[in-house]
């Protein structure tokens, strides 16, 4: 924790110093009647390309380009820095042209999705360690299927061994939908146990009507329900951690395309700034 705090303090300090240095340089350039929009624009485009390169870096793990963790730190703090560069670039005004509005909205969306992603990666990753064990996201459907198979095997075995159909009936009515697919996505994101607890309570409520064997079978089912709920929890959080990038990454490429088009327009229409 000490290392993390020290790293965070160091990076924040560098960010704050860089922001103030940039604001100072921008103010001085404005006083000197330099084209701060052009300077900040070039800086912003360079930074966005650099930020987008993080995704490429992850696809090229064999190249000695530094650790992914270091890239992530740089990505995060540089991303915050771009917000200041963006503000300077648009002179802290709301853009008025249709294309400029779309471009600004794209940037803000990408920035906001990055902040949301940062929040998710910080909060959900910690929550993932609180329930169950580490499961590979791609294997979750396999495990869910295995779990369902185990439960159905148990239920069928009990049905064969005894004359009672209560357990099988209960599974067919109440547990089959639960085991057949991922459930309670939003409740897990909201850290809510209510659906699982309700299901377990429902299982318990049957106790007084069951004989000893049936109760034991139902207890085994309750155990499997908890395992399935843990699996759903893992899925919900891991899926969120993966799917927020479906907004962040594609919009980044759209932003890059629009930014290059913006650069083309500005360069062509400014007559070389002469």
């Amino acid at each position: 924790m000490k290392r993390l705090a020290a790293r965070r303090t160091r990076n924040l300090t560098i960010l704050i110093v860089a922001v103030f240095a940039f604001l100072g340089c921008s103010a001085l350039a404005t006083i000197a009647l330099r084209d701060t929009a052009r300077l900040s624009g070039w800086l912003l485009l360079t930074l966005i390309i650099f930020l987008a390169a993080y995704n490429l870096r992850k696809k090229l793990p064999f190249l000695p380009l530094g650790s992914s963790a270091a890239w992530l730190q740089f990505h995060i703090y540089t991303g915050f820095f771009t917000a200041v560069a963006f503000g300077i670039h648009i002179a802290w005004r709301i853009p008025r042209g249709p294309f400029e509005i779309v471009l600004a909205a794209l940037y803000l969306t990408v920035f906001a999705s990055g902040v949301v992603g940062l929040f998710l990666s910080r909060s959900l990753a910690r929550r993932l360690t609180t329930r169950g064990d580490e499961v590979m996201f791609e294997r979750i459907p396999v495990y869910r299927r295995q779990l369902q198979h185990e439960v159905e095997t148990q239920v069928l075995a009990f049905l064969t061994a005894s004359d009672s159909s209560a357990v099988a009936q209960f599974y067919a009515d109440r547990l089959e939908p639960f085991f057949s697919r991922t459930r309670h996505f939003w409740q897990h994101l909201a850290q809510s146990n209510r659906p699982c607890v309700a299901l377990l309570n429902e299982i318990s409520s049957y106790d007084r009507y069951l004989n000893a064997d049936e109760r034991e079978a139902m207890q085994r089912l309750a155990k499997q329900v908890r395992k399935k709920d843990d699996l759903d929890y893992q899925f919900a959080l891991q899926a969120t951690l993966k799917y927020w990038l479906f907004g962040h990454v594609p919009l980044t490429y759209a932003l890059l395309a629009f930014a290059v088009f913006h650069l083309l327009l500005v360069s062509a229409f400014s007559g070389g700034g002469r």
Partner: protein, 713 residues
């Protein structure tokens, strides 16, 4: 909460997951993914559940535990697996789906950009924002201001990669803003020489210090106008920001080009040197005498007193002087009409001692006589007549020979002088004959040849137009009725026709007065009035002109022409037009000259090379095109007037200044000053402290652009 592992870490019991591959086996979700996995393009590669291996003579099943372990049937005799895997429909991995989505969004963005380029209404789409209102009213399409506005994508790419290939953006701005002149892009739209002079003047000021950020900015980025280089319009003007002020600049931005800097208007700004009286007024007016003596009661309400003569312009920006007719005419109209003065001599015949000349045998033909002889007559022709005479050079030579000789009493003259007088008289006669014979076409030809060095074609035409030939003809008819025959006879060598000399007028003997009033008294009865204000004045053998009203066109024209002829300064004596042009100007500008124009109308040095001069015929006129370094708007100041009103800012100058004779009403010194710069203002210059009372950042504002224009013209 369960801590039991939800999966086993036994590789033999698990499928080989390939999350980084683009495609995943379609059976993965069912818990029994194909060990081979899909091909790279998402094609199922399903074959058999295992690849049996051989132990001795037996084939052994190698199926993974995850898929049930070795099967009961075992491999076929040929060693192949007996359980073929059913083909699946591979699905994309999460990463692959994200990649596809990224590609689609990127393609959509590029497509959107291309559509924007191609759409007819692209001007509106790609515009970075609305224009300022002035531009919005005149500009509809990009191409009106941008060279590539009408081009396609390839043109834009070319322009972006080679920005110097097209015209500079500033040049396109100047296609409309021609009012900024040839030096529009130089600092303050001034020439390099002017800027150098201004910089030198600024360097003379005591060193000042500006703000720290300004000093750092200058040290870091330097001045954008170093060496007076041209600046792009976009240096200061940022368009497409909507209805904002295109000229908005901070004080620090204004100062970044200046060597002398300061903190604010109230802290370090250079003192106002003579403002707003850094140039003489166009009308010489003694405010103190008028305000204190002629209209003493006006002082009780200062604001009303000022507004008796001054009125705000339509925009309340400038305080202008009311017209002459509404102000000065009440007291000065009679002076303008010249009722007590003889008027301006347009042409005149010198009084010549005909009797002595005849006695000496000098033949001058007919010449009017005048009595008494003690009225001195110089050998000088009336200036205007001398200027337009075809014999101008010959007249100048003989006038020089006869300088100092009284032509009305030649009894002491030598025979050589008498011969020169004869020449002088005949030159006058020939001038009259030639001028009247050729008329205005002749005048035009003569002036174009002889005065082209001094006057432009327009001025020559004006001169030809205003010469009162009809009056000269009437004068000739009255006093020299046979001059044409005489000149013709002399030129042909024939005897002169016999004509008796007669007195000009019987009453001529009464002219003994030397003061103007007495001259005027006999003027009316001894003059023959002609149309257009002309009169043949018998006692002085002259054709005279009196202005009928203020702003008399003939006097104005003659004053302008004489000033143009006399150049920036008095011409040297050997100059062909020196004597007549100087004499004409002095006759028109003298204290008691006709119309007394120069009593009030001052003279300005003009920017004409060589130092021209011009008469300020008009009071200050509010101009929407004029942009001086400093501007002032009366409107907001009038809005906060107190009882002190105008005098709060416009206080009279100290006594040692206002006692100057130039300022005093009735002073003759005023008319003889050569240029208006000699005129001193009778108001004390405004002080910076007075302005700074209100012009602070928190109150009325202290921006440079509040009082200063950047583009000076």
């Amino acid at each position: 909460m369960s801590n039991e592992p939800s999966h086993a870490a036994n590789f033999d019991e698990n499928d080989y997951a390939r999350p980084n591959q683009a495609w995943i086996c379609g059976w993965a979700a069912e818990g029994h993914a194909c060990p081979l996995g899909p091909a790279r393009l998402g094609v199922c590669r399903s074959a058999y559940e295992c690849a049996p291996y051989r132990e001795g003579d037996t084939w052994v099943c190698a199926r993974m535990q995850a898929h049930g372990g070795p099967c009961d049937a075992g491999p076929l005799p040929d060693g192949s697996c007996c359980r073929a895997i059913q083909k699946c429909q591979p699905v994309r991995s999460v990463m692959s789906r994200r990649g596809v989505m990224s590609l689609c969004v990127f393609a959509a963005a590029v497509g959107t950009a291309m559509m924007m380029v191609a759409t007819p209404g692209r001007s509106r789409l790609i515009s970075p924002g609305p224009l300022i209102s002035a531009h919005r009213q005149t500009v509809d399409h990009c191409e009106e201001c941008h060279a590539v506005g009408n081009g396609g994508l390839s043109d834009w790419v070319h322009a972006a990669l080679d920005p110097k290939a097209g015209p500079p953006q500033s040049a396109l701005c100047l296609e409309c803003h021609v009012e900024l002149g040839a030096n529009a892009l130089r600092p303050h739209s001034q020439s390099t020489s002017t800027l150098t002079a201004l910089a030198a003047k600024q360097a003379e000021r005591p060193p000042t210090s500006g703000s720290f950020p300004l000093a750092v900015a200058k040290a870091t980025f330097g001045s954008p106008a170093a060496s007076h280089a041209e600046l792009a319009c976009a240096t200061c003007h940022r368009e497409h920001h909507g209805p904002s002020d295109l000229t908005e600049l901070t004080n620090q931005q204004c100062q970044v080009c200046h060597s002398a800097t300061f903190h604010s208007f109230g802290n370090g700004h250079p003192a106002l040197s003579g403002y707003p009286y850094d140039r003489p007024t166009r009308i010489a007016f003694d405010h103190q005498t008028h305000y204190g003596i002629h209209f003493p009661t006006a002082g009780t309400e200062a604001q009303h007193a000022c507004r008796d003569c001054h009125v705000p312009d339509a925009a309340d920006r400038y305080m202008l002087a009311k017209p002459f007719e509404a102000t000065c005419a009440q007291c000065h109209q009679e002076q303008i009409e010249d009722a007590t003065l003889p008027g301006l001599a347009i042409a005149a015949l010198p009084a010549v001692d005909v009797e002595t000349l005849q006695g000496a045998g000098v033949e001058i033909g007919h010449w009017p006589t005048i009595y008494p002889r003690h009225v001195e007559a110089k050998a000088e022709l009336a200036p205007l007549l001398a200027l337009i005479s075809p014999q101008r050079d010959a007249l100048r030579n003989v006038e020089a020979k006869l300088a100092g000789l009284d032509l009305s009493d030649l009894r002491q003259a030598t025979s050589a002088q008498l011969r020169d007088v004869e020449t002088f008289v005949w030159l006058i006669k020939e001038s009259l004959v030639d001028i009247l014979a050729t008329g205005r076409p002749g005048l035009r030809a003569e002036a174009s040849q002889g005065l082209a060095e001094y006057l432009d074609s327009e001025q020559i035409e004006t001169l030809v137009r205003v010469v009162p030939l009809e009056g000269i003809a009437a004068m000739q008819e009255q006093w020299l009725p046979h001059v044409a025959e005489e000149v013709a006879a002399r030129r042909s060598g024939s005897p002169l026709p016999a004509v008796e000399n007669t007195d000009a007028e019987d009453t001529a003997a009464d002219i003994v007065a030397e003061d103007a009033a007495s001259v005027a008294a006999v003027d009316v009865q001894n003059s023959r009035l002609l149309p257009s204000g002309l009169a043949i004045h018998s006692p002085s053998l002259s054709l005279r002109y009196r202005p009928a009203r203020h702003a008399d066109p003939l006097l104005k024209t003659l004053l302008d022409l004489s000033l143009a002829l006399s150049g920036g300064a008095r011409r040297p004596a050997n100059d062909p037009v020196a004597a007549p042009s100087n004499a004409l100007y002095e006759a028109l500008a003298a204290s008691y000259s006709s119309g007394r124009c120069r009593k009030c109308h001052t003279v300005d040095q003009t920017s004409v090379s060589g130092g021209g001069r011009s008469i300020n015929w008009l009071t200050y006129q509010a101009s929407t095109t004029q942009h001086a370094f400093t501007r002032f708007n009366h409107a907001p100041h009038l809005a906060v007037q107190t009882n002190e009103a105008c005098s709060h800012c416009h206080g009279f100058a100290p006594a040692d200044v206002t006692d100057s004779p130039i300022l005093k009403t009735g002073s003759t010194a005023r008319a003889v000053v050569s240029a208006a710069r000699d005129f001193q203002h009778d108001f004390a210059p405004m002080t910076q402290a007075r302005c700074a009372e209100c012009h602070t950042k928190q109150s009325a504002g202290d921006r440079c652009t509040t009082c200063h224009n950047y583009h000076v013209r």
